[in-house]
C-alpha cells in the first residue's frame, strides 16, 4: 500500500469483501438469533387480529408521539432531518445508484447532484448539532455510553468523507474516494454489533408491539 491508487484499489477490492462478509454474516446471525428464539405460546383466546395492527404500528410509530415531541422537539426534528438526509444522500445520489446498479443490477432514478450536495451539507450540520446537544444536555449526556459516540462517528464519517470527495477537498482524488469507501466499510463492520441494528430490528419490534396489542384487542 504505497500510493493513493493502491489504497483505493484495496478498499474497493479486499477491503470491501471483508466489510461485506462481516456485515451480512453479522446482520443475519443477529436477526436469526432473535427470530429463532421465538416467544412463549400465548394460550389466551385472541380478541383481535395480529396482522393488521402489527403492520399498522410499523407505519404509525414513524410519526413522533406528541408528548415526546413537546418535551424534546430538537431531538425529534434533528433525528428526522438527518435520517432523511442520510437516505437521500445514500440512495438518490447518482454515483451511489450506479454502484448499486453495477453490483446488484437494481436501478432507480436519482436527483441532481447539487441538490444532494445541499442535503448532505444540512445532514452533516444536523449531525454535528445532535452531537453537541448530546454532549451538553445533562440527561442525554448521562444516558450516553461509548457505543453511542461510536455509532455517531461511524455514521458521520461517510457523510463527511463523501462531502469532501464530492468537493475534492483532499488531494489526490483516489485518496479521498478511498477514505470515503473505507468509512462506509467501517460502518458496515460496526453495524451488526451495535444499536445501528435498529435499521433492521425496528420492523420486528414495532410489529410485535402492534400484533400483541391487536391480539388483546387494544390500541397500540
Amino acid at each position: 500500500m504505497t500510493t493513493p491508487t493502491d489504497f483505493l484499489l484495496w478498499v474497493r477490492g479486499p477491503g470491501f469483501d471483508i466489510a461485506l462478509v462481516v456485515f451480512i454474516l453479522g446482520v443475519i446471525i443477529r436477526l436469526l438469533e432473535v427470530l429463532v428464539l421465538g416467544r412463549k405460546h400465548d394460550y389466551s383466546e385472541p380478541r383481535g387480529g395480529e396482522l393488521g395492527p402489527g403492520l399498522k404500528t410499523v407505519v404509525t410509530r414513524t410519526l413522533p408521539e406528541t408528548g415526546s415531541f413537546k418535551r424534546a422537539p430538537f431531538t425529534v426534528i434533528g433525528g428526522y432531518i438527518w435520517h432523511i438526509g442520510f437516505f437521500i444522500s445514500l440512495f438518490l445520489f447518482v454515483p451511489h445508484i450506479e454502484l448499486i446498479n453495477a453490483t446488484l443490477g437494481l436501478s432507480w432514478p436519482g436527483i441532481a447532484s447539487n441538490l444532494v450536495d445541499a442535503v448532505a451539507a444540512v445532514t452533516i450540520v444536523t449531525l454535528i448539532a445532535m452531537l453537541f446537544s448530546r454532549l451538553t444536555h445533562p440527561v442525554k449526556r448521562y444516558l450516553s455510553g461509548p457505543e453511542d459516540y461510536l455509532t455517531w462517528l461511524v455514521t458521520f464519517l461517510p457523510m463527511l468523507t463523501g462531502y469532501l470527495a464530492y468537493h475534492r477537498m483532499i488531494d489526490p482524488y483516489p485518496l479521498v474516494l478511498g477514505l470515503h469507501i473505507l468509512s462506509v466499510e467501517v460502518l458496515m463492520i460496526v453495524f451488526p454489533f451495535t444499536k445501528l441494528m435498529h435499521a433492521f430490528t425496528f420492523f420486528i419490534a414495532r410489529w410485535y408491539n402492534g400484533a400483541m396489542s391487536g391480539r388483546r384487542g387494544v390500541q397500540s
Binding site: I28, L32, L37, P95
Partner: protein, 368 residues
Amino acid sequence: MADHMKRFRQTLGESLRERGVSRRGFLKYCTATASMMALPPTMVPAVAAALEKAKRPSVIWLSFQECTGCTESITRSHSPSLENLIFDHISLDYHHTLQVASGDAAEAAREAAMHENEGKYLVVVDGSIPLGNPGFSTIAGISNLQMMEETVAGAAAVIAVGSCAAFGGLPQANPNPTGAASVSDIVHDKPVVNVSGCPPIPTVITGVLAHFLTFGSLPELDALGRPMVFYGQSIHDRCYRRPFYDKGLFAETFDDEGARKGWCLYRLGCKGPMAYNACATTKWNQGVSWPVESGHGCLGCSEPDFWDAGGFYNALSIPDSDIIRNAGIVTAAGVALGAAAGALNRSTRAKAAAKHETVTIDDLDRKS
C-alpha cells in the same frame, strides 16, 4: 555554430525582428503564447514585455525508458510549432531522436551545452529510470541513472515530460520488472516540474517551456508537482458531458444514442473524476477533439499508477469482486450460523426450564 551562439545571446525580440517579424506579428505571437500558457488575455502585454527581453534557454532532452510518444507529441505542437520552439523559444542542444548527430558527437554536444550554460540550462526527461539493473537501459554506454545524475547536477530545473518520467508510468506498472523510478524519486536538490500524460498534450509541453522562457521561472505547481494552469481542474469538472452525469444520464455502450447525445461515459469506465489535465479545453490535434469527445472514457493517463488502477473500463468506485456471488455465499453461511446460534439459545433456554425447580408456599415456609 557562430550563428547559433549569436542567436543564443540575442533576446527573443531581437531575434524575431531580425527575421522581419512585425510588431503586429509579435503581438499575435504573444497572444498565441499567452493562450497556450493558459494565461488570461489581460496578461498579453506582460507576456509581450517579458518575451521581448527573454533569452532562449539551453535545453537538454534525455530519453530513458520511454516509447518516444512524448517526442511524437511535441512534434505535433502547432502553437508554437516544433520549428518555432527550437528557433525561438529554446536552444535544443541534445535530443537523441531529433538531432542529426549521433554517438560521440551527440554526447559531446550534451557536454558542451552543460559546460557553457552551467546552472542555467533546463533538463527535459522523458521515460522512467531503471534502478533494478543499470544495464536495462543505456545510451552511448552510459546508464540512464548516471546520465541523469551528471546532467541534472548543473541544471536550473528538470522538466519530467510524460507519465513515465513524472510518476514511473508504464515501465513501473505491476510488477515493475526494471525497478523503474520517476525523476522526482531520484532528483531532490533541483526543482522538478511534472508534465504528466501519456503523452502530455503537445501545447502543454511547449507551454511549460514557454513559461520558463517568458518569465524565467517555473509555473505554480500542484501537490504532484504539475503546473496548476494545465492540471488545476479535473477532466470531470471541465467536461462538456458533465451536466449529464449530474442528471444521471449515462451512455451504456460506445457510440449508442446516449453516447452521441453527449451523455456521461462514467459507466464505460471514464476516469475523468480522478484525472487532472487540460484535455477538455485545450483538446488534441489543434483543438479538433479529445478522447471523451470522441466517445471513449478518459484513461486518467496523467495520474500516478493509471495503468494499474483496476481496468480502463471499470468505473472508479465500483468494487472489483462478484458482489452477488459473495453475498449469496455469505448469506447462506449466515443463515446456517444464525440458525445454529438460535438453536443453541433454544437449548440453553430449554435446559434452564428443565432445571427450574418449582417452589411452593410450603417450601418457603419450611425455609423461613
